[in-house]
């Protein structure tokens, strides 16, 4: 592989089991 001019490298993990029921958009919006 050629040398790479890296800006960002990331392993972005999502822990779904801990999430609120809806990805929170402020309490006022929830029905």
């Amino acid at each position: 592989g050629a040398p790479l001019p890296v800006l960002v490298m990331a392993l972005y993990g999502r822990m779904f089991e801990n999430d609120p029921p809806r990805l929170g958009q402020g309490p006022g919006k929830l029905q």
Binding site: G1, A2, P3, L4, P5, V6, L7, V8, M9, A10, L11, Y12, G13, R14, M15, F16, N18, D19, P20, R22, L23, G24, Q25, G26, K29, L30, Q31
Partner: protein
């Protein structure tokens, strides 16, 4: 069909003037037809090149600058696909629906599936305790018309983004999937991609082959830019993802693509011009059945098998988009580093071509609840270039890098099996798969 030709159109949306009061219905339709005129050119071009389906962006027909009241004249009654309706043949069946009629005729006349994002309205009254005071629900809605012009899918966006005050939340999540000659398709919208429900559900539980994904995504480096995030999601979920983004350089909106479990088939990123862009690519209709279908990754296997690299240097804190990371600086041209935060330890082995004095890199870890513009739990390991040589700028957006990495291996002790691997090069370009790989034990590593 074993393969099919997918098209995605990044559309520079013609946006109406900001107004708090509703414009006349005729004016709203005029604006929407201007956008559909542009989409029509892309549809015809894609059809001429043999595309079976074209995906267009979220808000692609009327934009995103609305109050709740001002949006109303742009909305139509969109029925459930079970009514088996071809608006092009029976335009009056559900009231005044000129946009659906035009999209349906476009699909039928060009024999192509069309995915678009428009607005649905549903009247309600006091018998419904949740009915808004103005007597209707307004939904951000994806629609799909098949090559005969039939409405085959309708999806109401579940995870609205904070500024989308013009729309209502649907009462429940909708898992919208439908079968086609080129595989089982699923559909959701923009911010939904951060969710388990519907995003992971349609892939892991309902086993779709491809996801149709209209989005209006503004890029936020270093970790939340459209093309890197969406291509990483497709690899992690091992599914085709047809992502059509809006194009608006003022809003940093660009980054569309056709992504597969093995990598990027086509993508577009343009912060220089205001023009739209059509992309096409031939895809496997059912990737799971292919011998090349990637095996599942055990994202923490490697990181849990190695001892943390000891380091005499101290960690430091830095913010990435409101999340406080724990960082450690890469001081030499080669090395092994470990940085930890709560339950997550990130390991990095790397070799630079040379250690530049004018560029500083850091390895960062985050384990916690992201709280801005939505709340969701993250575990992130990242290697990034700091904005300046001042360590306090680590995590700030950076556009270019001149430090070349000859070798690298990044891994983490993740507590989740949903890990999206991103690799962004100078100029926000995606790294070609020939330069890196994701090993089965969870390392994002250079191909030596």
């Amino acid at each position: 069909l074993d393969t099919f030709i997918a098209a995605v159109y990044e559309h520079a949306v013609i946006i109406p003037n900001r107004t708090a009061t509703p414009v006349p219905k005729e004016e709203a339709l005029l604006l929407m037809n201007k956008n559909i005129d542009v989409l029509e050119k892309a549809v015809k071009l894609a059809a001429r090149q043999g595309a079976h389906i074209i995906v267009t962006p979220e808000d692609g027909v009327y934009g995103w600058v609305f109050t709740r009241e001002a949006l109303y004249p742009y909305l139509e009654e969109i029925p459930h696909p079970e009514v088996n309706w071809i608006p092009c043949k029976d335009p009056q069946r559900f009231g005044y629906t000129p946009v659906q009629e035009r999209l349906s005729c476009l699909a039928k006349d060009n024999s192509i599936y069309i995915v678009a994002n428009i607005g649905d309205k549903k009247p309600c009254n006091a018998s419904d305790p949740q009915c808004p005071s103005d007597g209707r629900y307004q939904y951000n809605t994806n629609v799909v018309f098949d090559s005969e012009g039939r409405l085959v899918a309708r999806y109401h966006k579940y995870n609205l983004f904070a500024p989308e005050i013009q729309f209502d939340f649907p009462k429940d999540t909708e898992h919208v999937t439908f079968d086609t000659p080129f595989g089982k398709l699923g559909i959701f919208t923009c911010f939904d991609i951060f969710s388990y429900d519907p995003a992971v559900v349609v892939v892991d539980e309902l086993q779709v082959d491809s996801v149709l994904y209209p989005t209006a995504w503004y890029n936020t480096l270093p970790l939340l830019s459209a093309a890197p995030f969406h291509s990483a999601w497709a690899r992690a979920l091992r599914v085709n993802l047809l992502s059509a983004n809006t194009h608006n350089t003022t809003m940093h909106m660009t980054g569309s693509g056709i992504y597969t479990p093995e990598g990027v088939k086509a993508y577009y990123y343009d912060m220089e011009t205001e023009s739209g862009q059509l992309m096409l690519s031939e895809l496997k209709a059912r990737p799971r059945r292919e011998p090349t279908y990637p095996a599942a990754v055990d994202w923490s296997a490697y990181a849990r098998s190695v001892k943390p690299f000891s380091s005499e240097q101290s960690d430091f804190r830095g913010m990435i988009y409101f999340d406080e990371f724990t960082f450690t600086e890469l001081k030499r041209n080669t090395g092994n580093y470990t940085v930890c935060q709560k339950d997550l330890c990130c390991h990095l082995t790397y070799k630079m071509s040379e250690k530049r004095s004018d560029e500083v890199y850091a390895l960062g870890a985050f384990d916690g609840l992201h709280m801005v513009e939505g709340q969701y739990y993250l575990q992130v390991c990242t290697l990034l270039k700091c904005q300046t040589t001042d360590l306090r700028t680590c995590g700030e957006p950076v556009g270019s890098a001149f430090t070349n990495f000859e070798e690298f291996s990044l891994s983490g002790t993740f507590g989740t099996s949903y890990v999206f691997p991103q690799l962004i090069l100078s100029g926000s370009q995606l790294a070609p798969e020939r330069h890196y790989e994701v090993s089965r034990d969870g390392r994002l590593k250079s191909r030596s």
